[in-house]
Amino acid sequence: MAQMNMIQALNSALDVMMERDPKVLTFGEDVGYFGGVFRVTDGLQKKYGLKRCFDTPIAEGGIVGVAVGMGAYGLRPVAEIQFADYIYPGLDQIISEAARLRYRTAGEFTSPITIRSPYGGGIYGGQTHSQSPEAIFTHVAGLKTVIPSTPYDAKGLLISAIEDDDPVMFFEPKRIYNGPFDGNHSRPVTPWAKHPASEVPEGHYSIPLGKAAVVREGGAVTVLAYGTMVHVAIGAAEATGIDAEVVDLRTIWPVDIETIEASVKKTGRCVIVHEATRTSGFGAELSALVQERCFYHLEAPIERVTGFDTPYPHSFEWNYFPGPIRVGSALRRVMEA
């Protein structure tokens, strides 16, 4: 075991996989010599050589397109998109190509690729360093979408994503790269070192895709969350004193429906939390699933707590962010209903 923040844990996952499997390689903008603008690939070029960890031209469509081609050859590329906000030029290659290759060739060609990208706000990054575009990918048939919330999960999930034979979108909550964040932005940042999930095995282990984790047990209300918002949800449960069960989805698609159903049937209430904009966000899908499967167990309307339906505003970061107040008042509302 070693103590790692999320960046080190992701780096360790790549290291372990590159060590084990010469078919694994990684590339992206500033990924090679520099080790990535968030340093996730730090040291990998030095250790594994130029051709296994390198810089790419600034062209997200090209990055994803070559990953698809390498995957078709039989490699397992891990492509980094520097910020999730810059993934859009790569969408055609992701949506029309990577996601459908297995289907349209009856399994002859596949896309065993992983696309990593930091996402989410809370760092004063303005409109183009803050977005949470995960719902777009869950809407596409043929893609898996993974979002870890701790160093331990980040490493185990990234290893599973790389080993998976289908394309995996792997979004990293950059606000919690260096420490968990409960949404109280005026308090000093706590490092991961104080958190039990910063104890990470140095070698290979994996966390299966499609499996959620109940990170706080409770009987009164189920909170469905992922990424940074897991920590905000736990903080809000503690601050309000409400006996909330917090489910960290970890893989948002295919989602762990069994864990969701079991929890909501137990508590009879459900609050869904994400940082992304509300309309057609992943919360809408979760809300529909819970309603379809748990309707007769529900004692209150399902609540969604989300970012607002505006571009991410630079100076109003904390008015925009679904922080403790927004989550806390939703928890109280469902308890009072």
Partner: protein, 419 residues
């Protein structure tokens, strides 16, 4: 299986000539002497001037003399105006960089060493021509006389911020200054400039457009869309590629610069292309005039590669010592644009060290005064930023029901927070 070529293939990954710890090395650059490149007539066919993309248009020689057919022969007052614009841009950068370091805003980007690229272009085109810049052409706004206080208010996201606190610092926008909204997403502005130029031609207007992109971002599809559309429709547009050698930590070879010049991109599309010394104000000015004249006379687009050097970090979030030799900036063989224009003005007897020092002081004072005013309207770290409820405006022309509800929710949260 038999193969005629049975040796294993190998994958080429380009690498820069030097990294931290190495000697900075620019010996692989071929730099022609000032004045040696011919200046073709602006009515020339693109196919006749293909060699222009492999050389470097230079006007100022090592002694500060303006030489050769590209000398725009500017009068001394105009030259002093140019020097002032570049020095003001640098003073502004220095000041705002410090303010960011003091925590008054979240982010800043300098254009140190690249001042000529924007300032000369702004002087060479008309004030109502439309600019589609990147984050490194603040010199356009400064040269066009845009309010420094307004620029600062944008950087501070304060109550006078023309963009209402919505945009990352330095992502300016000003319709009045002919300066299109800077996008955080690289490359998007280049086809937009072409579209604006097509609209001007469609409308039988006389205005032209100009776009800027870094050499790194020429890899984006958008750049190539722009090149095709611009040539197909002979759009009255100037496409400027600012080759400052670096794209954050990636050297220009990662964008394809080892195999061909960026100006040479023009040839494949059938566009006119020029390659200029980007640290030579007169060369940038003359090349831009040449391209503008082509555009205005319906000869179509020009690609200009500005060969320059990003003398400082990518942004306040970057430390270039991690990926390039720290003395590389000092070794840059084409000097500093401000020093070179100063040297020229001194050489022709129109300037001296005393006046230069006095001007430097005056500009610092100007920045200080603008800074005092801008900060009186608030800073990002201070209290008086823009009213948060304005964040729901301008998503659409009218605020729809769901945003009305969300605005009310945000207000209730704000009150709960202050309780």
């Amino acid at each position: 299986m038999s193969r005629r070529n049975s040796r294993p293939l190998s994958l080429h990954i380009p690498e820069p000539p030097s990294r931290p710890g190495d000697e900075a090395d620019f010996s692989h650059f071929e730099i022609p002497a000032a004045g040696v490149v011919a200046r073709p007539d602006t009515a020339v066919a693109a196919s006749e001037i293909r060699d222009m993309v492999h050389t470097l248009v230079r006007v100022l020689d090592d002694d500060g003399r303006a030489v050769g057919p590209w000398d725009p022969k500017l009068d001394a007052d105009t030259l002093r105006q140019a020097l002032r614009a570049m020095m003001l841009t640098r003073a502004f950068d220095e000041r705002m960089y410090r303010q960011q370091r003091q925590g008054k805003t979240s982010f800043y980007m300098k254009c140190t060493g690249e001042e000529a690229v924007a300032c000369a272009a702004a002087m060479a085109i008309d004030s109502d021509d439309m600019c589609f810049p990147t984050y490194r052409q603040q010199g356009l706004l400064v040269t066009r006389g845009y309010s420094m206080v307004d620029m600062m208010c944008q950087i501070y996201s304060n109550e006078r911020d023309p963009l209402k606190g919505r945009q990352l610092p330095i992502m300016y926008s000003s319709k009045a200054a002919g300066f299109f909204s800077i996008s955080g997403n690289l490359g998007t502005q280049v086809p937009q400039a072409v579209g604006w130029a097509m609209a001007s031609a469609y409308s039988e207007d006389t205005r032209i457009a100009a776009a800027w992109t870094g050499e790194g971002a020429t890899a984006e599809g958008d750049f190539h869309y722009a090149m095709t559309f611009a040539t197909v429709y002979r759009a009255p547009v100037i496409i400027n590629v600012v080759n400052n050698q670096w794209a954050i930590s990636s050297y220009s070879g990662i964008a394809g610069g080892d195999e061909a010049t960026f100006a040479a991109r023009a040839i494949g599309y059938g566009m006119a292309g020029l390659r200029v010394d980007g640290n030579d104000f007169l060369a940038v000015y003359a090349a831009t005039r040449w391209a503008a004249e082509r555009a205005r006379t319906n000869q179509g687009p020009t690609l200009i590669e500005h060969f320059t050097y990003r003398a400082e970090g990518h942004s306040t979030s970057d430390d270039p010592a991690r990926y390039r030799p720290s003395e590389e900036a000092k070794r840059w063989p084409l000097g500093d644009p401000i020093e070179r224009l100063k040297q020229h003005l001194v050489a022709i007897g129109e300037w001296d060290d005393e006046r230069h020092a006095a001007l430097g002081k005056e500009l610092v004072e100007q920045g200080k005064a603008a800074g005092r005013e801008a900060e009186s309207y608030g800073t990002l770290s201070g209290e008086n930023v823009v009213q948060a409820d304005s964040m729901f405006e301008d998503v659409f022309k009218e605020v729809p029901w769901h945003l009305v509800e969300q605005r009310d929710q945000a207000e209730a949260e704000r009150q709960a927070w202050h309780k």
